[in-house]
Protein backbone atom coordinates (compact mmCIF):
# COMPACT_ATOMS: atom_id res chain seq x y z
CA UNK A 1 0.00 0.00 0.00
CA UNK A 2 2.73 2.32 1.01
CA UNK A 3 4.85 1.60 -2.06
CA UNK A 4 1.80 1.86 -4.28
CA UNK A 5 0.90 5.28 -2.96
CA UNK A 6 4.40 6.51 -3.54
CA UNK A 7 4.42 5.08 -7.06
CA UNK A 8 1.15 6.80 -7.85
CA UNK A 9 2.49 10.05 -6.51
CA UNK A 10 5.69 9.71 -8.53
CA UNK A 11 3.64 9.04 -11.66
CA UNK A 12 1.59 12.18 -11.14
CA UNK A 13 4.65 14.27 -10.50
CA UNK A 14 6.20 12.90 -13.67
CA UNK A 15 3.07 13.67 -15.69
CA UNK A 16 3.52 17.23 -14.55
CA UNK A 17 7.30 17.43 -14.90
CA UNK A 18 7.46 16.36 -18.56
CA UNK A 19 5.27 19.17 -19.98
CA UNK A 20 7.11 21.68 -17.80
CA UNK A 21 10.43 20.46 -19.19
CA UNK A 22 9.17 20.75 -22.78
CA UNK A 23 7.71 24.24 -22.21
CA UNK A 24 10.91 25.38 -20.52
CA UNK A 25 13.05 24.12 -23.40
CA UNK A 26 10.90 26.03 -25.91
CA UNK A 27 11.13 29.21 -23.84
CA UNK A 28 14.88 28.91 -23.45
CA UNK A 29 15.29 28.37 -27.18
CA UNK A 30 13.09 31.26 -28.23
CA UNK A 31 14.37 33.78 -25.74
CA UNK A 32 17.91 33.39 -27.02
CA UNK A 33 16.83 33.42 -30.68
CA UNK A 34 14.72 36.56 -30.61
CA UNK A 35 17.76 38.41 -29.31
CA UNK A 36 18.69 41.54 -31.22
CA UNK A 37 21.84 41.28 -33.29
CA UNK A 38 22.73 38.69 -35.86
CA UNK A 39 24.74 35.81 -34.32
CA UNK A 40 26.70 35.81 -37.56
CA UNK A 41 28.24 39.08 -36.39
CA UNK A 42 29.71 37.27 -33.41
CA UNK A 43 31.84 35.19 -35.78
CA UNK A 44 32.47 37.26 -38.86
CA UNK A 45 33.76 40.78 -39.10
CA UNK A 46 31.11 43.37 -40.03
CA UNK A 47 33.05 43.85 -43.26
CA UNK A 48 32.69 40.22 -44.35
CA UNK A 49 31.26 39.49 -47.78
CA UNK A 50 27.57 38.72 -48.03
CA UNK A 51 28.45 35.28 -49.51
CA UNK A 52 30.44 34.38 -46.42
CA UNK A 53 27.57 35.52 -44.20
CA UNK A 54 24.92 33.54 -46.00
CA UNK A 55 27.18 30.48 -46.10
CA UNK A 56 27.58 30.65 -42.34
CA UNK A 57 23.88 31.27 -41.83
CA UNK A 58 23.22 28.24 -43.99
CA UNK A 59 25.67 26.11 -42.04
CA UNK A 60 24.09 27.14 -38.71
CA UNK A 61 20.60 26.53 -40.11
CA UNK A 62 19.60 30.11 -39.31
CA UNK A 63 17.64 30.53 -42.55
CA UNK A 64 15.10 27.91 -41.55
CA UNK A 65 11.92 28.86 -39.68
CA UNK A 66 12.55 29.05 -35.98
CA UNK A 67 10.26 26.15 -35.01
CA UNK A 68 12.17 23.94 -37.44
CA UNK A 69 15.46 25.07 -35.87
CA UNK A 70 14.04 24.08 -32.52
CA UNK A 71 13.24 20.54 -33.61
CA UNK A 72 16.58 20.15 -35.35
CA UNK A 73 18.31 21.37 -32.19
CA UNK A 74 16.35 19.10 -29.83
CA UNK A 75 16.87 16.17 -32.21
CA UNK A 76 20.60 16.79 -32.12
CA UNK A 77 20.61 17.08 -28.35
CA UNK A 78 18.97 13.69 -28.03
CA UNK A 79 21.68 12.26 -30.25
CA UNK A 80 24.29 13.74 -27.94
CA UNK A 81 25.20 16.60 -30.28
CA UNK A 82 25.04 19.87 -28.35
CA UNK A 83 26.43 22.05 -31.13
CA UNK A 84 29.74 23.88 -31.37
CA UNK A 85 30.89 27.20 -29.98
CA UNK A 86 30.79 30.03 -32.51
CA UNK A 87 33.90 31.60 -31.07
CA UNK A 88 36.40 28.77 -30.83
CA UNK A 89 34.75 25.77 -32.47
CA UNK A 90 34.83 23.66 -29.30
CA UNK A 91 32.12 21.06 -29.00
CA UNK A 92 29.58 22.30 -26.45
CA UNK A 93 29.21 18.75 -25.15
CA UNK A 94 32.85 18.58 -24.12
CA UNK A 95 32.70 22.12 -22.67
CA UNK A 96 29.69 21.00 -20.66
CA UNK A 97 31.55 18.04 -19.19
CA UNK A 98 34.71 20.02 -18.52
CA UNK A 99 33.04 23.02 -16.89
CA UNK A 100 30.20 21.01 -15.38
CA UNK A 101 32.59 18.93 -13.31
CA UNK A 102 33.96 22.04 -11.65
CA UNK A 103 30.50 23.43 -10.93
CA UNK A 104 29.38 20.11 -9.47
CA UNK A 105 32.45 20.02 -7.24
CA UNK A 106 31.91 23.58 -6.01
CA UNK A 107 28.17 23.26 -5.46
CA UNK A 108 28.47 19.80 -3.91
CA UNK A 109 31.05 20.95 -1.37
CA UNK A 110 28.97 24.03 -0.57
CA UNK A 111 25.90 21.87 0.07
CA UNK A 112 27.88 19.59 2.33
CA UNK A 113 29.25 22.50 4.37
CA UNK A 114 25.79 24.11 4.50
CA UNK A 115 24.05 21.15 6.07
CA UNK A 116 26.94 20.14 8.32
CA UNK A 117 26.90 23.60 9.87
CA UNK A 118 23.26 24.66 9.59
CA UNK A 119 21.48 21.66 11.08
CA UNK A 120 23.49 21.39 14.32
CA UNK A 121 23.37 25.19 14.74
CA UNK A 122 19.61 25.26 14.15
CA UNK A 123 18.98 22.48 16.67
CA UNK A 124 21.25 24.15 19.19
CA UNK A 125 19.41 27.46 18.78
CA UNK A 126 16.07 25.71 19.32
CA UNK A 127 17.20 23.73 22.37
CA UNK A 128 18.90 26.71 23.97
CA UNK A 129 16.13 29.07 22.93
CA UNK A 130 16.39 32.71 23.99
CA UNK A 131 19.92 32.27 25.29
CA UNK A 132 23.11 33.75 23.91
CA UNK A 133 23.40 30.69 21.61
CA UNK A 134 20.05 31.42 20.08
CA UNK A 135 20.79 35.10 19.67
CA UNK A 136 24.17 34.34 18.11
CA UNK A 137 22.56 31.98 15.64
CA UNK A 138 19.91 34.54 14.82
CA UNK A 139 22.60 37.17 14.27
CA UNK A 140 24.43 34.86 11.86
CA UNK A 141 21.13 34.18 10.15
CA UNK A 142 20.28 37.85 9.69
CA UNK A 143 23.75 38.79 8.50
CA UNK A 144 23.98 35.79 6.19
CA UNK A 145 20.80 36.83 4.46
CA UNK A 146 21.51 40.54 4.33
CA UNK A 147 25.08 40.55 3.05
CA UNK A 148 25.14 40.18 -0.73
CA UNK A 149 27.24 37.12 -1.52
CA UNK A 150 29.38 38.81 -4.13
CA UNK A 151 30.26 41.53 -1.67
CA UNK A 152 31.11 39.00 1.02
CA UNK A 153 33.32 37.39 -1.61
CA UNK A 154 35.17 40.66 -2.20
CA UNK A 155 35.64 41.23 1.54
CA UNK A 156 37.01 37.71 1.99
CA UNK A 157 39.35 38.24 -0.94
CA UNK A 158 40.54 41.48 0.65
CA UNK A 159 41.16 39.75 3.96
CA UNK A 160 42.52 36.32 3.02
CA UNK A 161 44.05 36.91 -0.38
CA UNK A 162 45.37 40.43 -0.09
CA UNK A 163 46.03 41.24 3.56
CA UNK A 164 46.90 37.77 4.85
CA UNK A 165 47.95 36.40 1.44
CA UNK A 166 47.08 32.82 2.34
CA UNK A 167 44.45 32.05 -0.28
CA UNK A 168 44.32 32.72 -4.03
CA UNK A 169 42.19 35.60 -5.35
CA UNK A 170 40.46 33.45 -7.92
CA UNK A 171 40.86 30.88 -10.64
CA UNK A 172 41.22 27.14 -10.24
CA UNK A 173 43.87 24.47 -10.01
CA UNK A 174 44.26 23.56 -6.35
CA UNK A 175 42.17 22.82 -3.30
CA UNK A 176 42.95 26.25 -1.89
CA UNK A 177 41.13 27.82 -4.83
CA UNK A 178 37.95 26.20 -3.55
CA UNK A 179 38.02 27.49 0.02
CA UNK A 180 36.63 31.00 -0.47
CA UNK A 181 34.00 30.14 -3.13
CA UNK A 182 32.68 27.28 -0.99
CA UNK A 183 32.44 29.50 2.09
CA UNK A 184 30.63 32.26 0.20
CA UNK A 185 28.19 29.83 -1.39
CA UNK A 186 27.52 28.09 1.91
CA UNK A 187 26.88 31.21 4.01
CA UNK A 188 23.50 32.11 2.55
CA UNK A 189 22.37 28.48 2.64
CA UNK A 190 23.47 28.18 6.25
CA UNK A 191 21.48 31.27 7.22
CA UNK A 192 18.26 30.05 5.64
CA UNK A 193 18.54 26.37 6.55
CA UNK A 194 19.46 27.16 10.13
CA UNK A 195 16.38 29.32 10.60
CA UNK A 196 14.09 26.67 9.18
CA UNK A 197 15.73 23.95 11.29
CA UNK A 198 15.34 26.09 14.38
CA UNK A 199 11.66 26.87 13.95
CA UNK A 200 10.83 23.34 12.85
CA UNK A 201 12.71 21.91 15.84
CA UNK A 202 10.93 24.32 18.18
CA UNK A 203 7.63 23.06 16.86
CA UNK A 204 8.66 19.42 17.38
CA UNK A 205 9.89 20.10 20.92
CA UNK A 206 6.41 21.28 21.84
CA UNK A 207 4.77 18.04 20.70
CA UNK A 208 3.31 15.41 22.97
CA UNK A 209 5.55 12.58 21.83
CA UNK A 210 8.60 14.50 22.95
CA UNK A 211 7.09 14.90 26.42
CA UNK A 212 6.30 11.17 26.46
CA UNK A 213 9.87 10.27 25.50
CA UNK A 214 11.23 12.57 28.18
CA UNK A 215 8.80 11.18 30.75
CA UNK A 216 9.89 7.63 30.10
CA UNK A 217 13.44 8.68 30.90
CA UNK A 218 15.13 8.77 27.53
CA UNK A 219 18.31 10.84 27.59
CA UNK A 220 17.82 14.46 26.55
CA UNK A 221 20.41 13.96 23.85
CA UNK A 222 18.51 11.08 22.22
CA UNK A 223 15.18 12.86 22.48
CA UNK A 224 16.48 15.89 20.64
CA UNK A 225 19.01 14.55 18.16
CA UNK A 226 17.31 11.28 17.25
CA UNK A 227 13.57 11.56 17.70
CA UNK A 228 13.03 15.29 17.44
CA UNK A 229 15.46 15.92 14.64
CA UNK A 230 14.03 13.13 12.49
CA UNK A 231 10.69 14.90 12.27
CA UNK A 232 12.15 18.37 12.28
CA UNK A 233 14.09 17.58 9.12
CA UNK A 234 10.98 17.23 6.94
CA UNK A 235 10.63 20.97 6.19
CA UNK A 236 14.39 21.15 5.74
CA UNK A 237 14.14 18.53 3.00
CA UNK A 238 11.29 20.41 1.39
CA UNK A 239 13.37 23.55 1.44
CA UNK A 240 16.31 21.65 -0.05
CA UNK A 241 14.34 21.07 -3.24
CA UNK A 242 13.82 24.79 -3.66
CA UNK A 243 17.32 25.61 -2.57
CA UNK A 244 18.71 23.39 -5.28
CA UNK A 245 17.59 25.77 -8.00
CA UNK A 246 18.75 28.77 -6.04
CA UNK A 247 22.11 27.22 -5.37
CA UNK A 248 22.66 27.00 -9.14
CA UNK A 249 21.78 30.68 -9.41
CA UNK A 250 24.15 31.73 -6.65
CA UNK A 251 26.86 29.49 -8.04
CA UNK A 252 26.71 31.55 -11.20
CA UNK A 253 27.52 34.77 -9.36
CA UNK A 254 30.18 33.19 -7.16
CA UNK A 255 31.87 31.63 -10.18
CA UNK A 256 32.03 34.99 -11.89
CA UNK A 257 33.47 36.72 -8.81
CA UNK A 258 36.15 34.09 -8.21
CA UNK A 259 36.70 33.39 -11.92
CA UNK A 260 36.01 29.75 -11.15
CA UNK A 261 35.71 28.14 -14.59
CA UNK A 262 32.35 26.43 -14.15
CA UNK A 263 29.03 26.38 -15.99
CA UNK A 264 27.86 29.72 -14.58
CA UNK A 265 31.05 31.48 -15.56
CA UNK A 266 30.81 30.01 -19.05
CA UNK A 267 27.13 30.93 -19.36
CA UNK A 268 27.60 34.58 -18.43
CA UNK A 269 30.61 34.79 -20.73
CA UNK A 270 28.74 33.23 -23.67
CA UNK A 271 25.72 35.50 -23.19
CA UNK A 272 27.90 38.60 -23.13
CA UNK A 273 29.87 37.45 -26.18
CA UNK A 274 26.75 36.28 -27.99
CA UNK A 275 28.02 32.74 -28.47
CA UNK A 276 24.47 31.49 -28.69
CA UNK A 277 25.03 27.71 -29.21
CA UNK A 278 26.91 27.62 -25.90
CA UNK A 279 24.45 29.93 -24.09
CA UNK A 280 21.50 27.93 -25.38
CA UNK A 281 22.77 24.52 -24.37
CA UNK A 282 24.01 25.68 -20.97
CA UNK A 283 20.69 27.38 -20.16
CA UNK A 284 18.84 24.30 -21.32
CA UNK A 285 20.97 21.99 -19.18
CA UNK A 286 20.65 24.24 -16.11
CA UNK A 287 16.88 24.54 -16.61
CA UNK A 288 16.48 20.79 -16.93
CA UNK A 289 18.64 20.28 -13.86
CA UNK A 290 16.33 22.53 -11.86
CA UNK A 291 13.18 20.82 -13.16
CA UNK A 292 14.63 17.40 -12.42
CA UNK A 293 15.89 18.53 -9.02
CA UNK A 294 12.42 19.76 -8.05
CA UNK A 295 10.90 16.50 -9.23
CA UNK A 296 13.33 14.45 -7.15
CA UNK A 297 12.77 16.67 -4.13
CA UNK A 298 9.00 16.23 -4.40
CA UNK A 299 9.32 12.46 -4.58
CA UNK A 300 11.83 12.34 -1.74
CA UNK A 301 9.55 14.55 0.30
CA UNK A 302 6.60 12.24 -0.29
CA UNK A 303 8.78 9.27 0.64
CA UNK A 304 9.55 10.74 4.07
CA UNK A 305 6.12 12.21 4.74
CA UNK A 306 3.15 9.86 4.18
CA UNK A 307 0.69 12.76 4.52
CA UNK A 308 1.80 14.12 1.16
CA UNK A 309 1.02 10.84 -0.59
CA UNK A 310 -2.36 10.74 1.08
CA UNK A 311 -2.99 14.29 -0.10
CA UNK A 312 -2.20 13.28 -3.65
CA UNK A 313 -4.81 10.53 -3.59
CA UNK A 314 -7.68 12.54 -2.30
Amino acid sequence: MRAKGLLLYTGRQLAYTVPVAVAASVLVFYSLRVAPGDPVNAVLSPLAQEEARSALRDRLGLDQPIWQQYFVYIGNVFQGDFGTSLLNGNSVGSLLVEFGKRTALLAGLALLVTYLVAIPLGVLAAVKRNTIWDQGASLIGNLGMAIPNFWLALLLILLFSVNLAILPVGGSGSASHLVLPVIVLAVEGIAVTMRVTRSSMLEQLGQDYIRTLRAKGLSAWRVVWVHGLRNALIPVISLAGLRFGWLLGYTLIVEVVFRWPGIGFLLVDSVIRRDYPVAQTLSLVLTMTVVLGNFLANVLYAAVDPRIRAGARS
Binding site: L27, V192, R198, S199, S238, L242, V268
Partner: protein, 325 residues
Protein backbone atom coordinates in the same frame (compact mmCIF):
# COMPACT_ATOMS: atom_id res chain seq x y z
CA UNK B 1 -2.78 18.60 -6.23
CA UNK B 2 0.44 20.25 -7.23
CA UNK B 3 0.54 22.44 -4.24
CA UNK B 4 0.23 19.68 -1.67
CA UNK B 5 3.91 19.63 -0.94
CA UNK B 6 4.03 23.24 0.12
CA UNK B 7 0.66 23.74 1.67
CA UNK B 8 0.82 20.72 3.97
CA UNK B 9 3.86 22.07 5.58
CA UNK B 10 3.04 25.69 5.70
CA UNK B 11 2.65 25.55 9.43
CA UNK B 12 5.78 23.54 10.06
CA UNK B 13 7.93 26.10 8.36
CA UNK B 14 7.02 28.67 10.89
CA UNK B 15 8.05 32.31 10.83
CA UNK B 16 9.74 34.09 8.04
CA UNK B 17 12.45 31.50 8.34
CA UNK B 18 12.36 30.72 4.71
CA UNK B 19 12.10 34.29 3.63
CA UNK B 20 15.53 34.28 2.12
CA UNK B 21 14.76 31.17 0.16
CA UNK B 22 13.77 33.99 -2.09
CA UNK B 23 10.55 32.78 -3.59
CA UNK B 24 9.53 31.14 -0.38
CA UNK B 25 9.19 34.34 1.47
CA UNK B 26 6.36 34.79 3.80
CA UNK B 27 5.04 31.29 3.20
CA UNK B 28 3.90 31.27 6.76
CA UNK B 29 3.12 34.80 7.36
CA UNK B 30 -0.40 33.63 7.84
CA UNK B 31 -2.13 36.44 9.56
CA UNK B 32 -4.94 35.55 11.88
CA UNK B 33 -7.89 37.48 10.48
CA UNK B 34 -9.67 37.12 13.83
CA UNK B 35 -7.19 39.52 15.32
CA UNK B 36 -7.87 42.03 12.61
CA UNK B 37 -11.54 42.73 12.32
CA UNK B 38 -13.17 44.17 15.36
CA UNK B 39 -15.74 46.59 14.09
CA UNK B 40 -15.57 48.99 17.05
CA UNK B 41 -13.36 52.01 16.80
CA UNK B 42 -12.35 51.56 20.43
CA UNK B 43 -10.93 48.15 19.67
CA UNK B 44 -9.17 49.71 16.71
CA UNK B 45 -7.43 52.24 18.95
CA UNK B 46 -6.51 49.52 21.40
CA UNK B 47 -5.02 47.59 18.53
CA UNK B 48 -2.94 50.53 17.41
CA UNK B 49 -1.60 50.96 20.92
CA UNK B 50 -0.88 47.25 21.09
CA UNK B 51 0.96 47.48 17.77
CA UNK B 52 3.14 50.27 19.09
CA UNK B 53 3.88 48.32 22.24
CA UNK B 54 4.86 45.30 20.16
CA UNK B 55 7.14 47.42 18.05
CA UNK B 56 8.69 49.18 21.01
CA UNK B 57 9.19 45.97 22.99
CA UNK B 58 11.53 44.56 20.37
CA UNK B 59 14.48 46.93 20.17
CA UNK B 60 16.04 45.20 17.20
CA UNK B 61 12.86 45.46 15.16
CA UNK B 62 12.44 49.10 16.15
CA UNK B 63 15.99 49.93 15.06
CA UNK B 64 15.53 48.00 11.84
CA UNK B 65 12.34 49.82 11.01
CA UNK B 66 13.93 53.20 11.68
CA UNK B 67 16.91 52.28 9.49
CA UNK B 68 14.65 51.04 6.69
CA UNK B 69 12.48 54.14 6.78
CA UNK B 70 15.52 56.41 6.91
CA UNK B 71 16.87 54.75 3.77
CA UNK B 72 13.54 55.09 2.03
CA UNK B 73 13.59 58.79 2.92
CA UNK B 74 17.16 59.12 1.60
CA UNK B 75 16.16 57.21 -1.50
CA UNK B 76 13.40 59.71 -2.22
CA UNK B 77 15.06 62.98 -1.21
CA UNK B 78 18.73 61.97 -1.33
CA UNK B 79 19.49 63.44 -4.71
CA UNK B 80 18.49 66.85 -3.32
CA UNK B 81 20.85 66.40 -0.38
CA UNK B 82 23.78 65.24 -2.50
CA UNK B 83 26.68 67.66 -2.07
CA UNK B 84 28.02 67.11 -5.62
CA UNK B 85 26.81 66.00 -9.01
CA UNK B 86 27.20 62.22 -8.94
CA UNK B 87 28.66 62.30 -12.48
CA UNK B 88 31.15 65.10 -11.88
CA UNK B 89 34.66 63.72 -12.36
CA UNK B 90 37.79 65.24 -10.93
CA UNK B 91 40.80 63.08 -11.65
CA UNK B 92 43.05 65.22 -9.47
CA UNK B 93 40.97 64.12 -6.47
CA UNK B 94 40.63 60.43 -7.41
CA UNK B 95 40.40 57.83 -4.63
CA UNK B 96 40.42 60.26 -1.72
CA UNK B 97 39.75 58.44 1.55
CA UNK B 98 36.59 59.31 3.52
CA UNK B 99 36.57 62.62 5.43
CA UNK B 100 39.13 64.28 3.22
CA UNK B 101 39.03 67.06 0.67
CA UNK B 102 35.43 67.89 1.46
CA UNK B 103 34.19 64.39 0.61
CA UNK B 104 32.54 62.73 3.61
CA UNK B 105 32.69 59.26 2.08
CA UNK B 106 35.71 59.90 -0.10
CA UNK B 107 35.89 59.73 -3.89
CA UNK B 108 36.04 56.91 -6.42
CA UNK B 109 38.57 56.11 -9.14
CA UNK B 110 37.36 59.00 -11.29
CA UNK B 111 37.24 61.46 -8.42
CA UNK B 112 33.47 61.36 -8.18
CA UNK B 113 31.99 62.06 -4.75
CA UNK B 114 31.09 58.72 -3.11
CA UNK B 115 28.31 60.18 -0.96
CA UNK B 116 26.53 61.66 -3.96
CA UNK B 117 26.96 58.42 -5.88
CA UNK B 118 25.70 56.27 -3.02
CA UNK B 119 22.64 58.52 -2.68
CA UNK B 120 21.95 58.23 -6.39
CA UNK B 121 22.64 54.47 -6.33
CA UNK B 122 20.31 54.12 -3.35
CA UNK B 123 17.59 55.90 -5.30
CA UNK B 124 18.01 53.58 -8.28
CA UNK B 125 18.27 50.38 -6.23
CA UNK B 126 15.22 51.22 -4.11
CA UNK B 127 13.25 52.41 -7.12
CA UNK B 128 13.96 49.14 -8.91
CA UNK B 129 13.04 47.19 -5.77
CA UNK B 130 9.82 49.07 -5.09
CA UNK B 131 8.59 49.26 -8.68
CA UNK B 132 9.16 45.61 -9.40
CA UNK B 133 7.78 44.46 -6.07
CA UNK B 134 4.63 46.55 -6.54
CA UNK B 135 4.12 45.06 -9.98
CA UNK B 136 4.62 41.52 -8.64
CA UNK B 137 2.25 42.29 -5.78
CA UNK B 138 -0.53 43.51 -8.08
CA UNK B 139 -0.26 40.56 -10.44
CA UNK B 140 0.22 38.08 -7.60
CA UNK B 141 -2.67 39.44 -5.54
CA UNK B 142 -5.00 39.39 -8.52
CA UNK B 143 -4.07 35.83 -9.49
CA UNK B 144 -4.13 34.67 -5.86
CA UNK B 145 -7.51 36.19 -5.00
CA UNK B 146 -9.16 34.97 -8.19
CA UNK B 147 -7.75 31.45 -7.82
CA UNK B 148 -8.60 31.28 -4.13
CA UNK B 149 -12.07 32.76 -4.39
CA UNK B 150 -13.39 31.03 -7.47
CA UNK B 151 -11.53 27.71 -7.23
CA UNK B 152 -12.20 25.11 -9.91
CA UNK B 153 -10.27 24.76 -13.13
CA UNK B 154 -8.96 28.32 -13.05
CA UNK B 155 -7.51 27.69 -9.61
CA UNK B 156 -5.88 24.46 -10.80
CA UNK B 157 -4.31 26.26 -13.74
CA UNK B 158 -3.08 29.20 -11.66
CA UNK B 159 -1.74 26.92 -8.93
CA UNK B 160 0.14 24.85 -11.48
CA UNK B 161 1.62 28.02 -12.95
CA UNK B 162 2.64 29.20 -9.49
CA UNK B 163 4.36 25.91 -8.78
CA UNK B 164 6.26 25.95 -12.06
CA UNK B 165 7.38 29.51 -11.57
CA UNK B 166 8.42 29.62 -8.02
CA UNK B 167 11.38 27.33 -7.43
CA UNK B 168 12.92 28.47 -10.62
CA UNK B 169 16.24 30.29 -10.27
CA UNK B 170 15.72 33.99 -10.82
CA UNK B 171 19.28 34.44 -12.02
CA UNK B 172 18.83 31.94 -14.81
CA UNK B 173 15.68 33.70 -16.03
CA UNK B 174 17.47 37.02 -15.84
CA UNK B 175 20.46 35.72 -17.81
CA UNK B 176 18.12 34.37 -20.49
CA UNK B 177 16.35 37.71 -20.70
CA UNK B 178 19.66 39.49 -21.02
CA UNK B 179 20.30 37.13 -23.93
CA UNK B 180 17.03 38.29 -25.46
CA UNK B 181 16.98 41.99 -24.54
CA UNK B 182 20.61 42.84 -23.96
CA UNK B 183 22.16 43.83 -20.59
CA UNK B 184 20.34 46.44 -18.51
CA UNK B 185 17.87 47.06 -15.75
CA UNK B 186 14.90 46.23 -18.02
CA UNK B 187 15.83 42.56 -18.43
CA UNK B 188 16.63 42.29 -14.74
CA UNK B 189 13.35 43.85 -13.59
CA UNK B 190 11.32 41.75 -15.99
CA UNK B 191 12.98 38.62 -14.61
CA UNK B 192 12.21 39.54 -11.01
CA UNK B 193 8.59 40.21 -11.95
CA UNK B 194 8.23 36.95 -13.86
CA UNK B 195 9.34 34.96 -10.82
CA UNK B 196 8.17 36.98 -7.80
CA UNK B 197 4.47 37.36 -8.64
CA UNK B 198 4.18 33.67 -7.84
CA UNK B 199 5.39 34.19 -4.28
CA UNK B 200 2.65 36.74 -3.63
CA UNK B 201 0.03 34.71 -5.48
CA UNK B 202 0.75 31.60 -3.40
CA UNK B 203 0.29 33.30 -0.07
CA UNK B 204 -2.64 35.47 -1.06
CA UNK B 205 -4.42 32.50 -2.57
CA UNK B 206 -4.06 30.69 0.76
CA UNK B 207 -5.35 33.73 2.66
CA UNK B 208 -8.33 34.02 0.32
CA UNK B 209 -9.20 30.35 0.76
CA UNK B 210 -9.30 30.89 4.53
CA UNK B 211 -11.23 34.17 4.31
CA UNK B 212 -13.86 32.64 2.06
CA UNK B 213 -14.92 30.37 4.90
CA UNK B 214 -15.29 33.20 7.39
CA UNK B 215 -18.73 34.21 8.64
CA UNK B 216 -18.63 37.79 7.42
CA UNK B 217 -17.94 36.66 3.86
CA UNK B 218 -20.66 34.04 4.07
CA UNK B 219 -23.03 36.66 5.46
CA UNK B 220 -22.24 38.99 2.59
CA UNK B 221 -22.90 36.18 0.14
CA UNK B 222 -26.17 35.32 1.84
CA UNK B 223 -27.24 38.96 1.62
CA UNK B 224 -26.71 38.82 -2.11
CA UNK B 225 -23.72 41.15 -2.25
CA UNK B 226 -22.22 40.89 -5.75
CA UNK B 227 -19.01 38.85 -5.95
CA UNK B 228 -17.00 41.72 -7.29
CA UNK B 229 -17.96 43.77 -4.24
CA UNK B 230 -17.26 40.92 -1.81
CA UNK B 231 -13.78 40.58 -3.23
CA UNK B 232 -13.13 44.30 -3.22
CA UNK B 233 -14.63 45.14 0.15
CA UNK B 234 -14.25 41.98 2.20
CA UNK B 235 -11.43 39.85 0.81
CA UNK B 236 -8.79 42.23 -0.52
CA UNK B 237 -8.57 44.49 2.55
CA UNK B 238 -7.90 41.47 4.74
CA UNK B 239 -4.98 40.35 2.63
CA UNK B 240 -3.22 43.68 3.14
CA UNK B 241 -1.35 42.68 6.34
CA UNK B 242 0.27 39.61 4.74
CA UNK B 243 0.99 41.56 1.61
CA UNK B 244 2.72 44.29 3.64
CA UNK B 245 4.92 41.82 5.48
CA UNK B 246 5.90 40.08 2.26
CA UNK B 247 6.50 43.35 0.46
CA UNK B 248 9.19 44.41 2.91
CA UNK B 249 11.01 41.08 2.47
CA UNK B 250 10.64 41.15 -1.28
CA UNK B 251 11.94 44.69 -1.68
CA UNK B 252 15.01 43.61 0.30
CA UNK B 253 15.51 40.64 -1.98
CA UNK B 254 15.08 42.74 -5.09
CA UNK B 255 17.76 45.14 -3.80
CA UNK B 256 20.17 42.24 -3.21
CA UNK B 257 19.38 40.70 -6.56
CA UNK B 258 19.77 43.94 -8.45
CA UNK B 259 23.15 44.44 -6.80
CA UNK B 260 24.38 40.95 -7.66
CA UNK B 261 23.14 41.11 -11.19
CA UNK B 262 24.59 44.54 -11.83
CA UNK B 263 27.81 43.34 -10.25
CA UNK B 264 28.32 40.58 -12.81
CA UNK B 265 27.80 43.19 -15.50
CA UNK B 266 24.34 42.23 -16.72
CA UNK B 267 22.23 44.77 -14.81
CA UNK B 268 22.63 48.53 -14.49
CA UNK B 269 25.24 49.77 -16.96
CA UNK B 270 27.66 52.62 -16.28
CA UNK B 271 27.43 55.54 -15.81
CA UNK B 272 24.19 54.68 -13.95
CA UNK B 273 25.38 54.18 -10.36
CA UNK B 274 23.28 51.38 -8.88
CA UNK B 275 24.84 50.06 -5.68
CA UNK B 276 25.91 46.77 -7.27
CA UNK B 277 27.29 48.51 -10.31
CA UNK B 278 29.40 50.78 -8.07
CA UNK B 279 30.93 47.73 -6.42
CA UNK B 280 31.65 46.21 -9.83
CA UNK B 281 33.35 49.40 -10.99
CA UNK B 282 35.26 49.78 -7.76
CA UNK B 283 36.45 46.20 -7.70
CA UNK B 284 39.71 46.90 -9.48
CA UNK B 285 40.58 49.62 -6.98
CA UNK B 286 39.57 47.87 -3.79
CA UNK B 287 43.11 46.79 -2.99
CA UNK B 288 44.33 50.34 -2.64
CA UNK B 289 41.13 52.05 -1.53
CA UNK B 290 38.68 49.67 0.08
CA UNK B 291 35.97 52.35 0.52
CA UNK B 292 34.98 52.17 -3.13
CA UNK B 293 33.46 48.76 -2.37
CA UNK B 294 32.84 48.92 1.38
CA UNK B 295 30.65 52.05 1.26
CA UNK B 296 28.09 50.73 -1.25
CA UNK B 297 28.32 47.23 0.26
CA UNK B 298 27.56 48.39 3.80
CA UNK B 299 24.71 50.46 2.38
CA UNK B 300 23.15 47.39 0.76
CA UNK B 301 23.58 45.28 3.88
CA UNK B 302 21.99 47.95 6.10
CA UNK B 303 18.99 48.45 3.81
CA UNK B 304 18.41 44.73 3.63
CA UNK B 305 18.78 44.14 7.37
CA UNK B 306 16.49 47.13 8.00
CA UNK B 307 13.82 45.89 5.62
CA UNK B 308 13.98 42.34 6.96
CA UNK B 309 13.62 43.56 10.54
CA UNK B 310 10.77 45.83 9.45
CA UNK B 311 9.11 42.74 7.97
CA UNK B 312 9.66 40.83 11.22
CA UNK B 313 8.11 43.71 13.13
CA UNK B 314 5.07 43.91 10.87
CA UNK B 315 4.61 40.18 11.20
CA UNK B 316 4.73 40.40 14.99
CA UNK B 317 2.17 43.19 14.96
CA UNK B 318 -0.22 41.43 12.62
CA UNK B 319 0.12 37.99 14.10
CA UNK B 320 0.55 38.04 17.87
CA UNK B 321 0.61 34.23 17.98
CA UNK B 322 4.04 34.15 16.39
CA UNK B 323 5.51 36.84 18.56
CA UNK B 324 7.54 34.87 21.03
CA UNK B 325 8.84 32.30 18.65
Amino acid sequence: MFSTRRSTHASALALGAERAAVTDIGANVTVDPAAADYPEARAGRARTAEAWRTLASNKLVLIGSVVALAYVFLGIFGSMLAPYDYRAQNLADALLPPFSGGHILGTDQLGRDMLSRVLEGLRISLLVGVVITSASLVVGALAGVLAGYFGGKGDKAISALIDITWGFPLILVAVLLVGALGPGLAAMMLAVGIINWAGFARIIRGETLALRQREFVEAARALGVPRRRIIRRHILPHTIPVALVMTSYYVALAVIFEAGFSFIGLGAQPPLPSLGQMIAEGRNYMLVSHWVITVPGVTIALIVIGLNLLGDGLRDIFDPRLRDR
